[in-house]
């Protein structure tokens, strides 16, 4: 049965791909947390460079997008809440949606576009130029050398960027609250802080760390899988972006479900 066969093959292929992501992440984690104690120091200068590029340089675009998303959430929320005469709830709606879901997710989408694609392009170009082979012949492990600094930069920068995105989203919501819903900035932030519990922020930050791991693993895996020829680099980059978005949404679903079913019942 060719149809059943193709489903089986696609499933095995998908599982093998997830396995390769896990193996790469494991190798990078080992290079960051274990190898430095065995005399193989991490390339700190490279990790800091990556952190600047993944995190600091993303601040303007993440700020702008999160501010707009916060404002959109407020407008959409107010449309419904107004009917119920509960316009004052707009602050808590924005705060909870941003911290639990849209802050981490929008940040991840931005980071995929900026850094996941760059990881694939960088490693893919190195593959085409035989630089990855050169590393191996010099007895330098490409995962430790190339992936580990990116892994550490993502691990540190994703929660920071997400926290900033949460704040900018609340600010966006606040603009609507202050101009159209009778809040002052003081009462809006007070309402926001009242609505949030630590669990909201923590669950968003845990997700953001997971998204960071997924983006690094997919970007680097696609880079290493680049074939011969420079046009293949473009293909890897596109593939890294599409697959990263898919895996980020899938991981988001899994973690949202976990947080839902483990939440304390009120």
């Amino acid at each position: 049965m060719p149809f059943i066969d193709s489903i089986g093959e696609a499933t095995i292929g998908g599982m093998a791909y997830v396995g390769s992501l896990a193996r790469l992440t494991g190798g990078a984690a080992r290079a960051v947390f274990v190898e430095p104690f065995r005399g193989h120091p991490l390339r700190w200068a490279r990790a800091i460079h990556q952190a600047m590029s993944v995190g600091v340089e993303a601040i303007p675009i993440v700020s702008l997008i999160s501010f707009f998303v916060g404002l959109i959430l407020a407008l959409q929320g107010a449309y419904e809440l107004r009917q119920l005469g509960a316009l004052q709830l707009v602050a808590s709606a924005v705060a909870i949606s941003m911290t639990r879901e849209l802050g981490p997710l929008m940040t991840a989408i931005m980071v995929i576009g900026r850094s996941g694609s760059a990881f694939a392009a960088e490693i893919g170009t190195m593959k085409v130029n035989e630089e990855i082979d050169a590393l191996e012949t010099m007895a330098l492990e490409p995962v430790r050398f190339l992936v580990a600094p990116k892994f550490l930069a993502m691990l540190l920068m994703m929660p920071c960027l997400t926290t900033w995105a949460d704040f900018m989203g609340v600010l966006g919501g606040g603009l609507f609250g202050v101009t159209s819903a009778g809040f002052t900035w003081g009462t809006y932030f007070h309402a926001t802080l009242n609505a949030l519990v630590l669990r909201d922020i923590a669950s968003g930050l845990i997700k953001s760390v997971m998204f960071g791991l997924v983006i690094t693993a997919v970007g680097c895996t696609e880079g290493f899988a680049t074939g011969l020829g420079s046009e293949q680099v473009g293909r890897s980059t596109t593939s890294a972006v599409v697959k990263s978005i898919f895996f980020v949404i899938a991981v988001d679903l899994v973690f949202t479900a976990i947080f839902y079913f483990t939440a304390p019942q009120h």
Binding site: T125, M126, N129, E130, E131, D133, A134, E136, T137, M138, A139, L140
Partner: protein, 282 residues
């Protein structure tokens, strides 16, 4: 020809005079076999040139010799150890004693020339930065690139990139040096300069050198021994003089630069590309 019996007690394997001994080497990509039982030896301090037409398997052979491909069968003896059967950490230890100069140079674009040369020293030796600095200058001087430490690879010409790559390959004072098409894509004057550099390195350091090339003039100039690969097997081997005297038609065709006969049918073209016999002729 049947494969030679493989013995770990083979006297040549542990002989200090033999730097590399390759026995019945088979390499496969998926189901397709590229090398079908290659045998040769390289005496220490000599230069072996591996020649052959495009697609004959010479690059695959070189990649297998430096451990970038794993053989499906056979043995590669270097430093008294079978490179093909070592664990990854053991292979890495052996790799520190070999140097490889890639066809494109393969310099790291994000690092300066000096940092490229310093990289293996920083990663594998306890040398302090001032000593590494001296070694880097020395190695760049040996390849005629003094003063280029702070240049980025993108600022160098093709020939200079290859020289910088050789300096990086020399950084760890290797016992064996591999070259993939050292003069490919270079003008004749720069290519001749690289041949001279290879001869100089051999003379000065008594390094064992393995060069893959299809440039005949360059091959006959630098080689102590040559092998000619054809369709994944060794078609001829010997000293340059022995190869000049060889009368095998396929060897003569390569050395005399006789083109392939006119391609009559699609299937012949396919056969020429893959080196495999066509399944059936219509």
């Amino acid at each position: 020809m049947p494969a030679q019996p493989i013995s770990k007690q083979n006297p040549t394997v542990d002989s200090p005079d033999i730097a590399i001994s390759v026995r019945d080497l088979h390499v496969r990509y998926g189901t397709r076999e590229i090398l079908h039982g290659v045998n040769f030896e390289v005496p220490a301090g000599e230069t072996l040139v591996i020649m052959g037409g495009s697609g004959c398997g010479k690059s695959t052979l070189l990649r297998t010799l430096v451990g970038l491909e794993l053989p499906s069968e056979g043995e590669i003896w270097m430093q008294g150890r079978n490179f093909a059967r070592l664990s990854e950490p053991e292979r890495d230890e052996l790799r520190k004693k070999i140097g490889m100069s890639f066809q494109s140079g393969a310099l790291f674009g994000s690092m300066s020339v000096g940092e490229n040369v310093a990289l293996p020293l920083r990663e594998h030796t306890p040398l302090d930065e001032s000593t590494i600095d001296i070694v880097v200058r020395l190695k760049l001087d040996q390849v005629g690139l003094s003063g280029f430490e702070n240049y980025m690879p993108a600022q160098l010409s093709g020939g200079m990139k290859k020289r910088a790559a050789i300096a990086r390959a020399l950084a760890m004072d290797p016992e064996i040096l591999f070259f993939d098409e050292p003069s490919a894509g270079l003008d004749p004057i720069i290519a001749a300069g690289l041949d001279e550099l290879i001869l100089k390195l051999k003379k000065a350091f008594r390094i064992t050198i393995v060069v893959v090339t299809h440039e005949l003039a360059s091959a006959f100039l630098i080689a102590d021994r040559m092998i000619l690969l054809d369709k994944g097997v060794v078609a001829a081997k010997g000293t340059p003089e022995e190869l000049r005297q060889n009368t095998t038609p396929r060897v003569r065709q390569f050395l005399d630069r006789v083109p392939e006969p006119e391609i009559a049918a699609e299937i012949d073209y396919l056969q020429m590309l893959t080196g495999e016999d066509p399944p059936q002729r219509r």
